[in-house]
């Protein structure tokens, strides 16, 4: 019953996300004003910023769920942490890729070792390591504990990435959302479209997170039932 309810919720999120994405594309390409200095390439911003912000949210979920798992050892926390870690890696990969492509025409280089880019690359490496710890641990139960520790410790890099533009000399623009955002840093129309884009990606993120967490749950159940498969991460008591 719970699975069916979750499937219904997932389909609802896909439909809503698809609809919002169509409106978002219309707003980004046809309504948003062209940046006076950067030109049309600045429209990458409406994808790049939400992807980066939501990757932080995903790693926050990993942090909370890992703490929950270490405290309670409940599989549901582990499934949520694993799903959030995986979706977070996809999001931060996309944030890095869109940033690199945007940097080339604006800064004249694909990559530069400035603080924001370097700390973001470190963030990407931490969470790729998080997924690798799970994949290569001697057994799934131990892998879940190791990954939870990496998920808690690794989250330290998220505020470092956010505040890097303030703490060190950086050529990366200052944040436009969150506590460091200055009032009036963006045109009101641009800010409204950015927030709409953030909402659109949030819906897609929640759908992917719920889908991945439910698949991890089913996968654990199948491993538990299947005598040929690898051992279940959390043997039934």
């Amino acid at each position: 019953m719970g699975y069916l309810r979750q499937q219904g919720l997932g389909q609802g999120l896909v439909a809503l996300g698809g609809l919002l994405m169509l409106v978002n594309l219309y707003l980004v390409f046809l309504v948003a004003p062209t940046d006076a200095v950067l030109g049309d390439v600045q429209r990458v911003f409406y994808f790049h910023v939400p992807l980066a912000v939501l990757s932080f949210l995903a790693f926050f979920f990993v942090f909370i769920a890992s703490l929950g798992f270490l405290a309670r050892r409940t599989p549901a926390w582990d499934h949520l942490a694993h799903a959030a870690g995986e979706v977070g890696v996809v999001l931060v990969t996309l944030a890095l890729l869109t940033g690199v492509i945007w940097a080339r025409p604006v800064w004249g280089v694909w990559w530069t070792w400035e603080p924001r880019l370097t700390t973001t690359l470190i963030l990407w490496l931490i969470y790729v390591a998080y997924l690798m710890v799970r994949a290569y641990a001697p057994n799934p139960a131990r892998g879940a504990v190791y990954a939870a520790v990496v998920g808690v410790v690794g989250f330290v890099d998220v505020p470092i990435v956010y505040y890097s533009v303030q703490w060190w000399r950086s050529i990366h623009p200052s944040p436009v959302v969150g506590p460091l955002a200055e009032a009036g840093a963006l045109e009101p129309v641009m800010l409204a479209i950015l927030l709409f884009s953030l909402l659109t990606f949030l819906v897609l993120f929640l759908h992917l997170l719920l889908l991945r967490a439910s698949l991890h749950r089913v996968e654990a159940w199948v491993k538990e039932q299947d005598p040929r498969g690898s051992p279940a991460p959390f043997p039934a008591n």
Binding site: L38, G39, D40, V41, V44, L94, L97, L208, L215
Partner: protein, 63 residues
């Protein structure tokens, strides 16, 4: 002279970079969606196999 000044004030469009950023984003997104869909299909197949009664006598009673 006037043309030169107008050109200097117009920001470069750089549409190829804009196009590349969106293509890469959608490619990665669809690749991940494809990976999830394949995982889901494999799990459904394994669940169907598990739901069938086991033939081997040493495998114990089917659940």
């Amino acid at each position: 002279m006037l043309i030169t000044l107008l050109q200097a004030q117009t920001p470069p469009a750089n549409l190829s970079y804009l196009f590349a950023a969106f293509v890469v984003s959608w490619l990665v997104f669809f690749a991940y969606t494809f990976f999830i869909a394949r995982r889901q299909r494999d799990l459904e197949r394994r669940m169907r196999e598990l739901s069938q009664p086991r033939q081997s006598p040493d495998s114990g009673p089917a659940r």
